[in-house]
């Protein structure tokens, strides 16, 4: 198994917003989803997941309701607010720009050496 990467600073919030954007979801499912989708590359420290969720809720980017799960138990489901969706779009765009720029620079350096 390849070594798991630490998440760059500030990306956890973006990832959470993206996962929640797909539909109301509870905390454990968010953790699972992040791990599966990233093919186990991204290991979300569960200890920092919940503080992040609460912070996003406090800032009004997420809203939460208590609902029954498919197994019939009560869980806290998070969903995106309108403010959260706007935040997700702007952060995703800027992430995109950043990664593209980083990619360009990396390609340039290998090409230039030959």
């Amino acid at each position: 198994m390849p070594p798991k990467s630490d998440l760059p600073q500030g990306t956890l919030d973006l990832l959470i917003l993206k996962v929640v954007a797909l539909g109301p979801v509870h905390g454990y499912a968010i953790a699972q989803r992040l791990q599966q989708v990233s093919r186990d590359v991204v290991q979300v420290p569960q200890g920092s997941l919940y503080p992040a969720l609460h912070r996003l809720e406090y800032r009004g980017l997420l809203a939460a309701d208590w609902k029954a799960t498919e197994t019939g138990r009560e869980a806290k489901f998070y969903r995106l607010t309108r403010k959260g969706r706007a935040q997700l779009e702007s952060e995703a765009a800027s992430w995109q720009r950043l990664t593209e720029a980083v990619g360009l620079i990396l390609n340039l350096s290998t090409g230039g050496a030959e």
Binding site: H26, G27, Y28, A31, Q32, P45, Q46, G47, S48, Y50, P51, A52, H54, R55, Y58, W66, R73, E74, A75, K76
Partner: protein
Amino acid sequence: MSWWRRLRSSQLDDQLDRELRFHLNHHAADLMARGHSAEEARRLARIALGGAAQVQEACRDARGTRWLEDLWQDVRYALRTLRQRPGFTTVALVTLALGIGATTVMFTVINGVLLRPLPYPQADRLLQVQEQTRGTVSFLWGDRWAFAYPNYLDCRRDVQALSMAAWRWDLATVSQPGQAEYSTGVETSPNLFSVLGVAPASGRFFTPADDQPSAPPVMVLGYHFWQHHFGANPAVLGTSVVFEGKPYTVAGIAPPGFRLNGDEVDLFIPLGQNPSPSLQRRDRHPAIQVFARLRPGVTPLAAQADLDVVARRLAAQYPDSNRGRGFIAEPLGPDVGDVRATLWLLLGAVSLVLLIACVNVASLLLARAASRDRELAMRVALGAGRGRLARQCLTEAAVLAVSGGLLGILLAAAGLRQFVALWPGSLPRAEEVSLDARVLLFAFGASLGSGLLFGLAPALRAPARHVEQALRAGGRSLVGSSRRLHSSFVVAEIALSVVLLVAAGMLGRTMLRLSALDPGLNIHNVLTARMALSPATLASPAKIRVAWQEVLDAARRVPGVESIATVDTVPMREGNNPIGYGTSPDLPPDDRQPHALASSVSPDYLKVMGIRLLHGRFFDAHDRLGSEPVVVIDDVLAARACGGADCVGKRLWIAASSSPFSVDTRSPEPVRIVGVVAHVRYWGLAGDDQAKVRAQFYYPIAQVVDPLMRRWSELMSIAVRTNIHPLTVVAPLQRAVHGDANDQVLYEIHSMDQLAAASLARQRFLLSLFGVFAALALVLACVGIYGVLAYLTSQRVPEIGVRMALGASSGAVLWMVLRQSLGMIVFGAAAGAAAALAAARILERLVEGMQPATPSTFAFTIAVLLMAALVAAFVPARRASRIDPLKALRQE
């Protein structure tokens, strides 16, 4: 999410708990599905999530209301711990309540007397306008002058920026109706009330028509005078009141509490009806004060510019009287004299007491914090942040400070009136002194400030640096920094106490010296009172002279009266008459003329006052109108005028403008010196040495010329030497001199003993308060020293046990503890002595007759402090010396 829901933190915590439990269960179920045993699955799930407590903490932190929840929690915790230690809490609260209470009282007085605006609407738009001379500055009066009436009239007409009102005091007798009463009258322009923005309580104020010399005389009564002289009878409107022998019709009543320059006024009459010729002259300044209100939208600068224009025009038009003369407008503020300095001095002293109280509470708190080291270390180990602990310490201090502050405010509210009543003489604007929003803000600020002050040391200490050590030490070892901090508290307390003790010592020495001074007269068994003759006599100078002779004759027959004299200015009382003089006919110009205090007296004055005659003679019946003007001078004037040689028979020249021996002379008036008497401390026991004008001379009232007789008579007092207690002759004296029409009254009645005591009242008042403050400081400092040493010693019990087990004698242990305290005391006393030197400078500048601090003052006060401090230190030291080594070692 509403604030209310956020505040319900227990519910939120509950939900968080459920959320995390759901996560753990779900994770465990997944792990079991992958083949882990139930127990193993739960363990792995918990590890993956991390410490539940930390996650919960982090989640709470993520919520924005964290600080509020913490604050509430801290406050509850603080209240609980304070309740658990009632002894500590009581001492701290009482100390703080006293400190903050005393400071609040002082500030309340300062607020009422100095800071509050005058009690008129929009008082910040009010100005006082005075005449100002450029170039020539009078030695006595500076460059400010009261208005000449024609100048006022011109300004009022031509200065568009201001509405101006003029008024002057007119003190005289109200003889009808009722008992004759000497009253405070004011002659005023009709618009004074509208300029100040007050409306009559009933009836009307004056109109411009009332201000005409030919208009029927009308009067407005002061509210208080109306109440006590007329029994608040509303039917008084339209009736006649006789003032200065002239009947006036009452037109209105002024509103309650209305004051001019801080004084209540008994009655008002129109200034324009005053027939005195001096009101028609531009070169006379009959004490007319001018108040003005800025018209809407006008700045003070614009008003001043308008005044300057008028002043220049008048200077060109009337060069004789108005050249170099301008008008200056300044904000109208309260006139409180030397009370300002006294108040700030006392606030300074009381702040020192509060500071000591704070240091005391700080050392108590610190001792407690140190003994809670273990608890704090435990909480750090359990995940409490250090900032969090520091904040909790501060919250505890704030809770203590605010409770102490509340108690202090209650104390201040209860003690305020008593304090104002204690004030020597009368406190100006005393009626304005009350608790208001600004005072409460101050008290609250002072409480929180003290809380911060005494909470900071324990709070900064709170992050126990070596958690493991603290836990292991079991809270019994003492970190060096804590001991240093404690010592510095003791040092600070002692230093502050030394400042107050030295100040009290200086004041005490000053009082001793001033009380022992020779006043220059025999102050015992002398009664003085101002007296107003019957208004009927005032028209004729001859009648006035006869009336005074009759008063003297009648009074001499009163049982208990030995001798009696008339005098215009009484020593140590308000009122004086400085006159320029020279030793040759060419007097130096006004601003460089020497001045002497002049008193017009009848021949028995020397006998009544018990003033020593040094050379020559005093006055007798031969000194009368028409004979050569004579004066008797005091030894101070003798030394200045004749340089120690015999003065008797020599001549002095008196400035023409103030000569009582003639009117309208242009050249200085020569007078013959017939005697030299001892100097009298005219300005009071405390103030005489620094007074601007000390030289004195006396002249016979019999030689005052006729045109001045009425004015002199209005200012006259009688002085009576008695062979019984002087105040017991007041009633019979009053009956003896009341005159045929029963309208002659005595007022401002004092014995010379009272006047002499009053001249020291400020010093005595300061001494008693500084004495109380110093005693309080001493007690607080001793409590502080005792507390700190008791604490430090109790921390050293095991060490002392070891020492004693190894053979140290109890005497050696006693000495060891005492030596430790001695170091702090000596260091504190040295620091305090340096600060006291600075404080002594301030006292010397602000208090009349203050004696400089001498080494003996320092030695004495520091010895007192040393004794007290050593007694306080001795108790814990003795306890330490009696430690049973076995028990002490078992404690370890």
